[in-house]
Amino acid sequence: MRGGFSTLLYKEVLRFWKVAAQTVAAPVLTALLYLLIFSHVLEGHVKIHGVAYTAFLIPGLVIMSVLQNAFANSSSSLIQSKVTGNIVFVLLPPISYLEFFAAYVLAAVVRGCVVGGGVLLATLWFAPVSFAEPWWILIFAVLGGAILGSLGVIAGIWAEKFDQLAAFQNFLIMPLTFLSGVFYSVHSLPPFWQQLSHWNPIFYMIDGFRHGFFGVSDASPWLSLAVVGSCFAILTVFTLNLLKSGYKLRA
């Protein structure tokens, strides 16, 4: 371990890995349950983009797991450290704002990808899934995880209590992920909801990610990349400024 960034990254990864039953196995199981129930009900009735429903659903569940776990990782780590007071251990050393941000976000991406990989492995048995353009899979998993990881950093810094964090998660993150085409193609929605979905950045993460599997999607993957990339750039600038200002971390 050398330097603030690599040590903080290592510590953040070790932190979730030590309790992998809760942080990795549990979300994989949840995703598997979604798959079993939805595919049981809808398989054979629905085909999307010419793909059988279960196969269509798998990438959605994978990226949803990536996003939710990336958010959970940075936000829960920060709020725990703040509530217990051990946040001073990272505030006293000479760790720069950029190192701090990069370590928390990258650890969130790692957690997201480990869970996402687990969901993929566990669900692959249920339907044939192709990997048409795999680089899109990687790009959207990493960028999506990074965006939700940054949001987790912001929420973790802002929230003073666990229930405030839960509110952030239940009223913002969950609706945005569920209303973004995890379980359906937005083209099957009425026009109003279709329009609304196009304002939800998470829709582009999921759509672009799915494109990597099937080579077809609701929006062009390049458009999705532009939207997701800009979101990440904006969040990076915002979060770095938040950290630099010392907001709620340095009185």
């Binding site: 330097g3 051990n86 505030l91 050393p93 000479p94 340095r250």
Partner: protein, 302 residues
């Protein structure tokens, strides 16, 4: 040679509380410095400002010549802080905590020094225990160890002996004294005044965010406290003898400046016809100084 710590006109307000009010303080390298004051005086706030945990409304702070805001990375390398609150990371063992803390300071392989710290703080047998399993005093020891991983030239301990047993106090002070002798600057806050009196060469007293006394320990003791002849007598002593003296719990306390005066005092007690049933010599003590300073007798620099 730059000062170990230089604090210039630092003020900090929390809502309606003026936690620090124009604090001016310079601590030379190699000092063993005591920062005393009642609860809420601003000691922790001052230390936090030094560590960059609190940003002052005005003023400047430097550690070993490095500005804690403008040059925060260099300043933090110079400083080891033992926080007042008993905090720990429940995910890790003692050794892991120390390795991680070393890594934050950019130190790759710190095992030899970690072992030495563990040994000196009586933690060797707990090295692989999870932090959750340790008793409060043991957690406090780990906090001290964490502050030392990067061998900081300036070490600040915020009430390190609160809730700690006699054994650790002694081993802790022996270790900190050795570090001080090896050239580390030590700053200590404590509510155990005999501890400060024994260890610190210079003391600042803080009250409501202001420094109300700042001097060497010896000077403070001399200025605010004297030797006194303490006696218990079988009858009330004459008023003229008691001028300047005080009584509490049946003990009369007659102050004096030099030991030659003791004989004269005793002779006067005898001529007054009082029998002495008990007698002792009271020494100047920091507690008395503290009480007097806090009651408002200001002491300037000397």
């Amino acid at each position: 040679m730059s000062s170990a710590i230089r604090i210039e006109q630092v003020s900090k307000r929390f809502g309606s509380v003026q936690a620090l009010d124009g604090v001016e303080l310079e601590i030379a390298q190699g000092e063993f410095f005591g920062l005393l004051g009642p609860n809420g005086a601003g000691k922790t706030t001052l230390i936090s400002a030094l560590a960059g945990l609190v940003r002052p409304d005005s003023g400047r702070l430097r550690v070993m010549g490095k500005d804690v805001q403008a040059d925060y990375r260099a300043a933090r390398r110079q400083l080891g802080v033992v926080p007042q609150e008993l905090v720990f990371d429940p995910f890790f063992s003692v050794r892991e905590s120390l390795q991680i803390q070393s890594g934050y300071f950019g130190i790759a392989d710190n095992e030899a020094w970690i072992d030495e710290i563990l040994e000196n703080l009586g933690l060797t047998s707990k090295a692989d225990a999870n932090m959750r399993m340790l008793s409060g005093g043991m957690k406090r020891r780990v906090l001290v160890a964490q502050a030392l991983v990067h061998r900081p030239p300036v070490i600040v301990l915020d009430e390190p002996t609160a809730g700690v047993d006699v054994e650790l106090r002694q081993t802790l002070w022996a270790f900190i004294r050795r570090l001080n002798q090896a050239g580390h600057t030590i700053v200590l806050t404590t509510h155990y005044l005999e501890e400060a009196e024994m260890l610190c060469n210079r003391i600042a007293m803080l009250k409501a965010g202001r420094i109300v006394a700042l001097d060497t320990t010896g000077n403070l003791l001399r200025r605010f406290s004297t030797h006194s002849l303490r006696l218990r007598t079988d009858r009330k002593m004459p008023a003229e003898l008691l001028a300047g003296g005080t009584e509490s719990g049946g003990w009369w306390s007659l102050p004096f400046d030099t030991f030659d005066q003791v004989e004269g005092l005793l002779a006067r007690v005898r001529t007054a016809g009082c029998g002495i049933s008990d007698l002792e010599i009271g020494k100047p003590d920091l507690e008395e100084v503290f009480v007097r300073v806090m009651q408002g007798q200001q002491a300037g620099q000397g």
